[in-house]
């Protein structure tokens, strides 16, 4: 009888340890996946930009400074690594794109061209995807960081080699509606 109880207690403890360990590992993997999603969406947006710039150039050739700002911001965004760098470059590129679309507002022919309209829709959906992948990433980082800081999962962080992760913070007050694309 005593043996059965002892085995059951040990079994329950083992089960508890395994659950705690697995939970941390799982949360950490979800953050990795969410991060990969951000990168995919940022890449999508970067791929969209040359085409957009070319289209706007066709109608508004002398807005060179705006184009330069977009191209520089894009170059920075594609070469950035790490959470903080990527976030900063992402914010700059969003700003630059907003400038480019503001320029486009002044050219009725451009605004009416079907090529521009479809690019604009694609940019709108991509901006939303970037924003949502950021949000999804930050939500998952929040769950992970809560688990890392609270008891009992706190005690397993060393064993599972899982620590707090960095939030993806874009410094842009208008960020939620960026850039405002109407159609």
């Amino acid at each position: 009888m005593e043996i059965i109880i002892a085995v059951a207690v040990i079994g329950l403890i083992a089960l508890f340890l395994i659950t705690q360990y697995n939970r941390l590992i799982r949360l950490n993997i979800t953050v990795d996946e969410a991060w990969a999603q951000i990168e995919v969406q940022l890449k999508r947006r970067a791929d969209l930009i040359p085409n957009l710039v070319e289209t706007v150039k066709g109608y508004a050739a002398h807005e060179q400074s705006t184009f330069d700002a977009v191209v520089t911001a894009r170059a920075k965004a594609t070469s950035a690594t790490g959470v903080a760098d990527t976030a900063a470059a992402d914010g700059m590129l969003t700003q630059a794109l907003r400038g480019l679309l503001a320029v486009a507002e002044a050219y009725p022919d451009l605004k009416a061209s079907s090529n521009f309209l479809s690019l604009q829709e694609e940019l709108a959906t991509t901006e939303n995807k970037v924003a949502f992948s950021r949000q999804f990433y930050n939500d998952n980082v929040r769950s992970l960081n809560t688990a890392v800081k609270t008891i009992p999962s706190k005690f397993f962080t060393g064993f599972a080699k899982v620590g707090e992760r960095e939030f993806y913070e874009v410094e842009d007050p208008q960020d939620r509606n960026a850039p405002s694309v109407k159609f």
Binding site: T30, Q37, E121, N128, K129, F132, F136
Partner: protein, 297 residues
């Protein structure tokens, strides 16, 4: 109230209502045993069996069944890239797998979601809703539908329908027995109050079951609104979408009222007897709740 507390509250209430269904079922069994004696005990498993088979068949194949019942047609990304772009946005925000997408040719604006789990989800839109709504509004509607998928509402309503169905079958069988044979249990151990009480339960139970089923459906709608906000963090989009639905008086041409509860706006609203039997909360109430979430920022 923010969306997190709203979600928690709605989940709790659904749980309570499902428990209520279980208690009602238990009352019916008790009433049957008091009124007819032990010989009727066999009816209960039969009724539950019939209800299970009929409901779970439709639950398992819900994505395909609903397609035929509503006349929806599956579409591919190339058929409507803009809609797929919006759906992808919500997919990324919610971290869920991509559902199948279908279109119902109908000028009334409406939408629905079904499927037994997120991997077999199907969301459908009428051509009317795609024409009537702008980007943010459609995003809100898609988030509401994906929220139904995430909250497994097909499963919840299948459970509710099974219990309500079983209760209806039991009390139907027993009421028939009353007319044809009267009480089989002639030992005369009956306490008259208990007998009258059982009779009342048997007669009222199906009605109560339908009311509970509708209440569960209403809670799931409120929950889906709250979950949709947790996906998009933009209550204004869904709120203005609901305003469009509220101001529009056209109703989806139903092929079957059996699927009325799955639409975002109830196609039966105008015919609804009272709030107790409607499958959706009043649309103005839903708008007011979303507006209060907006003011929280």
């Amino acid at each position: 109230m923010n969306f997190r507390t709203m979600q928690a509250a709605n989940r709790r209430k659904t749980f309570g209502l499902l428990i209520g269904m279980g208690i009602l079922m238990w009352f019916v069994v008790y009433a049957a045993l008091t009124y007819f004696g032990g010989s009727t005990a066999g009816i209960v498993p039969i009724a539950v069996g019939i209800a299970l088979i009929s409901v779970w068949g439709s639950y398992y194949g819900s994505d395909k069944l609903v397609l035929t019942m509503t006349g929806a047609k599956l579409i591919q990304e190339s058929d409507n890239p803009k809609l797929f772009g919006l759906i992808h946005e919500v997919i990324i925000a919610s971290g869920m797998p991509m559902p199948k997408v279908a279109i119902v040719v109908d000028s009334a604006p409406n939408a629905f979601a079904t499927g037994r789990n997120p991997e077999h989800a199907l969301i459908a839109f009428t051509t009317g809703i795609l024409d009537a709504m702008d980007r943010d509004q459609l995003q809100g509607v898609i988030a509401h539908e994906m929220a139904h998928v995430a909250n497994r509402d097909t499963l919840v309503s299948a459970v509710a329908a099974t219990t309500a169905g079983a209760i209806a079958i039991v009390s139907d069988m027993l009421t028939r027995m009353m007319f044809f044979g009267g009480r089989r249990d002639s030992n005369g151990n009956g306490n008259p109050i208990a007998l009258v009480f059982s009779l009342i339960i048997l007669i009222l139970a199906p009605l109560a079951a339908i009311m509970l089923k509708s209440a569960i459906s209403r809670k799931r709608e409120s929950l889906a609104d709250a979950t949709a906000v947790s996906f998009t963090r933009n209550p204004a989009g869904l709120r203005s979408a609901l305003e469009v639905l509220a101001s529009d008086s056209t109703v989806v041409q139903q092929r079957s009222t059996a699927v009325a509860h799955i639409w975002i706006e109830s196609p039966l609203d105008s015919k609804s007897v009272s709030k107790l039997f409607s499958t959706h909360p009043p649309i103005q109430e839903r708008i007011a709740v979303l507006r209060s979430m907006e003011s929280l920022g």
